[in-house]
Amino acid sequence: MNNEKPMNVLSLQNVVKTYANHRAVNDVSFDVKKGTIFGLLGPNGAGKTSLIRIITTITAADSGQVYLNGQPLNRLHPNDIGYMPEERGLYKKMKVGEQLLYLAQLKGLSSKDAKVKLRHWLEKFEILNWWDKKISDLSKGMSQKVQFIATVVHDPSLIILDEPFSGLDPINANLIKDEIFQLKEKGASILFSTHRMEQVEEICEDIVLINHGKILLYGGVANIKNEFKEHKFSVKYEGSLPESLNFGGYEIVSNQANELIFKGQSGQTSIQLLKNLLDSNVNIMSFNEILPSLNEIFIKKVETSNE
């Protein structure tokens, strides 16, 4: 658990939520540090949306506590949260400008402030000339941009993005990704819900993995990968290998296309392995530790929890 100094923007303590006869959220606790990107991961139906709805005050937890910036969730907090649900939606017949103005005012901005901020964002995305366009006239990618602006225009301290890249082409996905990083630089914290693991590895610092409403994994991405490493090393070499090799406890898993994969035991260092290789006159081109991908960890963890 994280006991470090930086204050948490969001803190969940033993949150429980039960619907009719199934427990959607089961004793979940985690913290999102200020100014970080946090991944909320889990397969479909794991309880991600239930959790997000509790955090956004759409529903309330049956028990447990949720703190935003150190305070228990209250009626004013929704104004400090920006939420982009997975199922996007805007009023199709409303004009872009009117719509954004309305949503910004619902988040507590005055009409004047909202106009200034919206202008800034629309200019940034180079879509200021869309102000009078109706949503129904925009493409999916275009309306996605409008939706993103609606999520962040009120400068929330916590931004919750549910599958923000789904349905976006690579160019627009990159644009949004850059914006997420910039918002983080400016001090916002982002709760990023997805099941696309490659994005998580790229973007998130900390993650929590839930399934059946329970936490399976929680911590920094680097720590988790370390925790799940199998002490495997990859050695790329040139030329041929000597007849007999002794690698002091490491076994060769595979030897293909001039790449050796070794597997050792927990607690062993790579020093002896490298030394033995050099002593055997192996012409080493590269030496890497093989860390498991989050995807592998995810699948492994979810499968064991389903058993």
Partner: protein
């Protein structure tokens, strides 16, 4: 509160600036006017060609008296039929009216002939028939030695004159008629307005759910605020539309009258076709109606009617909102769910109609105090001056029940808007009421 106002504003502005709304609001009174003008036009232009009709009346039945009408000119001629038919062939006249002598002074029927290849228009036929009928009547009176005055004395105008016993209240025979008409119109209007705008609230809820914008919205404000804002916004649209109509109708009417020269005199006026005495009583009745309308206690009827409209609208539209939230993607699903809401509404309009006939029947009295029914039945009874205690019970129970219904609807709404998939059953709806937040 501020957020409710924002929602109200959006609902109001998007609707009021909608092209369809502007067109229907402006064109509906115009449409009614055009329709009325068309009716007047059709009625007054029976035939547009001027016709000359010769009247062959050898027995002098009409005594050379036959008033020509707009396009019809009657000429008495005792030339032989053959000579007149030659005139017809030469196209100097359009037809010949041949009136055979009346043989039997007590004959029950009389047949005249109209010689022409073209038929007369219906109103022309009618005018000729009634003119001949009147003449025959005079002829018969003379033959039977009856004085026209004596005959008139046989007819008696029977009227009731109601007198109150305990209450000090002036009522006349016309009071009931005026009250009935007023009550009926108000009841009918209430029914349609509540139904129409209630449905709009439902559609608005469904739109947000189908659009999926709902999740963004309720992460910014409470479902109750959203629902109330919506109900208020649509209600204001309704009041705006009715207000515009009330102002526009007379204006358009006067403009139309000035532009097209429709003057009330030229309209088919029943008074013109009546004999003077009847016309007199008719006119006195008309002025009596106006007197009656003026003597109504409008300071009492109007605010109460407005109250019943608002309370009824709130109760029903909150229910419509709850139903809208429970419907899935398919608008047709709404029909089966709206049925139970429509029932009291339809029921109350029927009770309203019966209340017009019998405003003090126990059915009318009880249902004007039962919420959901009362918002339509009581306004129907108001012109009949129901007792204060009934109004009191009705108002208090309606307020309490409306608050309860809005609360109930909000409980269903907050759960329904987040439920996707198949449409909910009433059993599920009733469970939603007890869900925790």
């Amino acid at each position: 509160m501020n957020k409710i106002w924002l929602v109200t504003q959006r609902e109001y502005l998007t609707r009021v600036t909608n092209k369809t709304f502007i067109l229907t609001t402006l064109l509906a009174p115009l449409g009614i006017l055009v329709f009325m003008a068309a009716v007047v036009l059709v009625m007054s232009t029976g035939s547009d060609k001027a016709k000359i009709i010769n009247v062959y009346d050898p027995s002098g039945l009409l005594q050379n008296e036959f008033k020509s009408r707009d396009n019809l000119t009657f000429k008495f001629s005792n030339e032989s039929m053959d000579a007149q038919k030659t005139l017809y062939k030469e196209k100097k006249i359009n037809g010949i009216l041949e009136l055979p002598p009346l043989t039997d002074s007590l004959a029950k029927s009389y047949v005249y002939k109209y010689h022409s290849d073209d038929q007369l228009a219906m109103d022309e036929n009618f005018a000729i028939e009634s003119a001949i009928g009147k003449k025959i009547r005079d002829f018969k009176l003379k033959k039977l030695n009856i004085d026209a005055k004596t005959l008139e004395n046989l007819d008696t105008d029977v009227q009731a004159e109601p007198e109150t016993i305990l209450e000090d209240k002036k009522i006349s025979s016309i009071t009931t008629i005026v009250s009935s008409a007023l009550g009926g119109i108000v009841g009918y209007a209430m029914f349609f307005i509540i139904l129409f705008y209630g449905m709009q609230v439902m559609r608005s809820v469904m739109e947000e759910k189908i659009n999926r914008i709902i999740e963004v919205l309720i992460s910014s404000l409470k479902p109750f605020e959203l629902m109330m804002g919506k109900v208020l916004g649509v209600g204001l649209v309704g009041l705006t539309q009715i207000g515009i109509w009330l102002i526009l109708m007379p204006i358009i009417y006067f403009i139309g009258a000035a532009l097209f020269g429709i003057n009330t005199e030229a309209m088919p006026n029943p008074v013109n076709d009546m004999n003077p005495e009847v016309a007199l009583t008719f006119q006195s009745k008309a002025s009596q109606i106006f007197l009656e309308l003026r003597s109504m206690n409008w300071w009492f009827i109007l605010p109460l009617t407005l109250f019943y409209f608002l309370a009824g609208y709130f109760a029903y539209s909150a229910l419509f909102a709850a139903i809208g939230s429970a419907v899935g993607e398919d608008i047709n699903d709404a029909n089966s769910l709206t049925f139970p809401i429509m029932m009291p509404l339809i029921f109350s309009i029927y009770i309203g109609f019966s209340a017009v006939n019998a405003p003090d029947s126990s059915l009318a009295v009880w249902s004007s105090m039962i919420p959901l029914l009362s918002s339509i039945v009581m306004p129907v009874r108001l012109p009949f001056d129901p007792p204060w205690w009934q109004i009191g019970i009705s108002v208090v129970s309606l307020i309490i029940f409306t608050i309860f219904l809005v609360w109930l609807a909000a409980r269903i709404y907050r759960v329904g808007i987040l439920m996707y998939g198949k449409k909910a059953t009433f059993k599920e709806l009733s469970k939603w009421i007890f869900y925790k937040d």
